[in-house]
């Protein structure tokens, strides 16, 4: 059985599950907590049942749009639904699931009257089983016939992708087939064209290739089976008994893998890896053992294991995960190994936020989140000390804190299995991120040396580069729309398809803004969506900004841009909305500060107007330019 072994045991889980229905307003938080425990297939099903007994539809308080996931396939999938929903719950997402009538996936995709169309999916998972995919392939087949069948199957699947895209404009996930067929030759199986085992391997390889072209996310069950062993995923007895290709014992992991992709598409993967230092990235306690006494690098298996973990962390940072350190130490001691230990793989410059003091870890994790300008729910915290882990879980339940083995040899594998940093694509932003955080420190140093704010800002040589929404920036745009909580006037969450809708709407505009200064490129830092509404009013539907560029006059400069774009649509007034959320109090007076007058409101929301006839562009230290397409 595949265990979700990085999740903590939560006690008394059984009793808390039984009482779930009596928890009243705390029900959702309690359900999320129970879903975050290390649970097996039976517990997963039980939790799903209890949640659905108590709650019929998505709780109103959720800011994230519910997920409507349709599974399409030809084998039994009913046993997988609860695990997918519970994996959603683990991420505070409400998930509705659907599956096609037995074997009818093709018809349902094409027929506008089908159950699939009525369901209106926001994500489609094409989960075709290996037996279905290899139907007709036999050792007696000629190579030419097998090649033709492969091309045909691949084209059929791509047509499904196109139908899914065209009809639903939603996330499409393709499950790669499990290698369930026993080989006929052995190690050189690939030399027998008509072997179903080698056929499935070829099909998976081909699907990987075309999925890149078609922008489809892959659910790589074949790779999981290679790691976990086929028997962990597939039980031939249950295939024969119930046509369950994925064994129910693996359902919790299956749900995890599916929901990681859905969450990643919504920009909800974790962003930063925060680690303790002593006995987490090196062996020993630097304050006691001294730099010379640390166990790190060649010479001992343990030292090699710590160095290997550092190496994994550095590789993560190179693909866009932010690194931070959080340690109970004197700062001087904590920094010393970075300066003096020859076997340190991680350099001081790899770490975007470094906190070493004697405050408690929850307080320091708050400081790290603030320093990095990201939410606590974007942090993964690794600490060898079970006491610290438990304290952080209790105080900051939104921080992911994996259970890790006492043996550092398994740290990296645990992080990988936990899938915190799942990504469906790598953007240039991701690659550049480490450099951006370094630039932040240099900016802070300049700020400390400049005597007044004006000369500091002038000295930054800031340029705000704007670009209309486009395909190239789509990933990052969607990520920001779904992840930005604080500087976000309306907290409206949009999918890729919604953003494409804005691109196509001539009475609307969507712009992404990049801030460049003498220390480097801050990346895309703000998004604005405007839409004409009624006679001459341009409604600012969405205005959000990354907090790391606060206090740099980006807001008034953005207003200049918005006003210019509104005039192009013949607008006479700008209408700005503020919808309060639990996290966006900082922008309550945003429109007042920019000279808008409040006109009306409903509930807690307020609306503000700015007359464009008398509008003079605000004077700022930020140059504004259109960024040319790539």
């Amino acid at each position: 059985m595949i265990e979700l072994y990085w999740l903590p045991k939560v006690e008394p889980w059984r009793e808390r599950l039984r009482r779930l229905g009596d928890t009243g307003e705390a029900l959702w938080d309690e359900a999320v907590a129970l879903a975050g425990a290390r649970i097996d297939a039976v517990q997963t099903n039980a939790l799903d049942t209890m949640v659905h007994r108590a709650v019929r539809e998505a709780p109103a308080a959720l800011t994230d749009k519910p997920v409507r996931l349709a599974m399409l396939g030809s084998a039994t999938m009913a046993h997988l639904h609860p695990a997918i929903r519970v994996a959603g719950l683990r991420r505070r997402l409400w998930v509705e699931t659907y599956e096609n009538d037995y074997g009818q996936y093709w018809q349902e995709l094409s027929d506008p009257a089908s159950g699939l169309h009525c369901f209106k999916p926001t994500a489609i998972l094409l989960a075709l089983d290996a037996h279905h995919l290899a139907a007709g392939i036999s050792a007696a087949s000629s190579r030419a016939d097998v090649d033709a069948a492969l091309a045909d199957t691949c084209e059929r699947i791509r047509t499904c992708w196109r139908l899914a895209r065209d009809n639903f404009r939603c996330l499409v996930i393709q499950q790669l087939a499990l290698p369930v067929h026993p080989p006929l030759l052995g190690s050189n199986e690939h030399r027998l064209a008509g072997s179903r085992a080698s056929y499935i391997a070829r099909l998976n390889a081909e699907l990987r290739r075309v999925a890149d072209t078609d922008g489809v996310a892959l659910l790589a069950l074949d790779a999981r089976a290679a790691r976990d062993g086929l028997m962990a995923w597939h039980n031939p007895e249950l295939w024969h008994r119930a046509k369950q290709e994925v064994t129910p014992a693996a359902a919790p992991m299956y749900g995890e893998l599916v929901m990681r992709l859905v969450a990643a598409e919504r920009g909800r993967s974790y962003k930063a890896l925060v680690f303790d230092l002593d006995n987490t990235i090196w062996g020993g306690v630097v304050g006691d053992d001294g730099v010379e006494g640390l166990v790190l690098g060649p010479g001992s298996p343990l030292g090699e294991a710590f160095a290997d973990f550092q190496h994994y962390a550095r590789e993560l940072s190179r693909r866009g995960v932010i690194l931070a350190a959080c340690s109970k130490n004197d700062e001087k001691n904590a920094l010393e190994p970075f300066d003096r230990h020859p076997e340190m793989v991680l350099k001081r410059s790899d770490i975007a936020s470094f906190v070493a003091n004697w405050s408690d870890k929850p307080a320091n994790l708050r400081a790290v989140a603030e320093d990095l300008n990201i939410g606590l729910d974007a942090l993964v915290f690794v600490d060898d000390n079970p006491f610290e882990r438990e304290l952080v879980r209790r105080e900051l339940p939104m921080v992911a804190v994996p259970e890790i083995s006492e043996d550092p040899a398994f740290y990296a594998q645990t992080l990988a299995d936990a899938g915190y940093f799942e990504a469906v694509a790598i953007t240039d932003e991701d690659r550049a991120r480490a450099g951006q955080y370094q630039g932040n420190r240099q900016r802070a140093e300049l700020k400390a040396s400049a005597t007044d704010l004006g000369s500091y800002l002038r000295g930054l040589d800031m340029r705000l580069l704007w670009r209309r929404f486009d395909r190239v920036g789509l990933n990052r745009t969607v990520q920001l729309i779904n992840k930005t909580n604080q500087f976000n006037l309306t907290t409206r969450r949009y999918t890729e398809a919604d953003v494409v809708g804005v691109m196509q709407d001539e009475q609307a505009f969507g712009v992404q803004l990049r801030l460049v200064d003498r220390f480097g490129d801050n990346g895309i830092i703000a998004i604005v969506i405007g839409r004409m509404q009624g006679e001459g009013d341009l409604l600012i539907d969405t205005w959000l900004m990354s907090c790391r560029v606060l206090g740099r006059q980006v807001e008034p400069t953005t207003l200049n841009l918005v006003a210019a774009m509104a005039k192009r649509l013949d607008a006479r007034r700008l209408i700005g909305e503020y919808i309060p959320s639990a996290k966006n109090g900082m922008v309550r007076d945003h429109y007042a500060r920019l000279g808008f007058g409040e006109i009306d409101g409903s509930g807690n929301a307020t609306r503000h107007a700015l007359d464009l006839a008398g509008f003079a562009a605000r004077d700022t230290f930020v140059e504004i330019e259109e960024e040319k397409g790539q």
Binding site: D40, N45, A78
Partner: protein, 79 residues
Amino acid sequence: MTEPEIYQALTTIFRDVFLRDDLDLRPELSAKDVPDWDSFKQIEIIIAVEENFGIKFRTREMDSLNNVGDLARLVASKT
């Protein structure tokens, strides 16, 4: 493992699978006595029992199970 120990472990499994804490296992209890005990729940029970006792059932053995008594005897023969 003694028979009472096996029954006790099975009771916990059945109560978790069916979310019914009033379920008492008797040897003659079978699928027709418990609402929701369908073929899927049957598989869930089997998987939980295999995991709990660290044993594996064969196809023929699973086919021969008619009630809780059969299951308890099968577990006893493998533990």
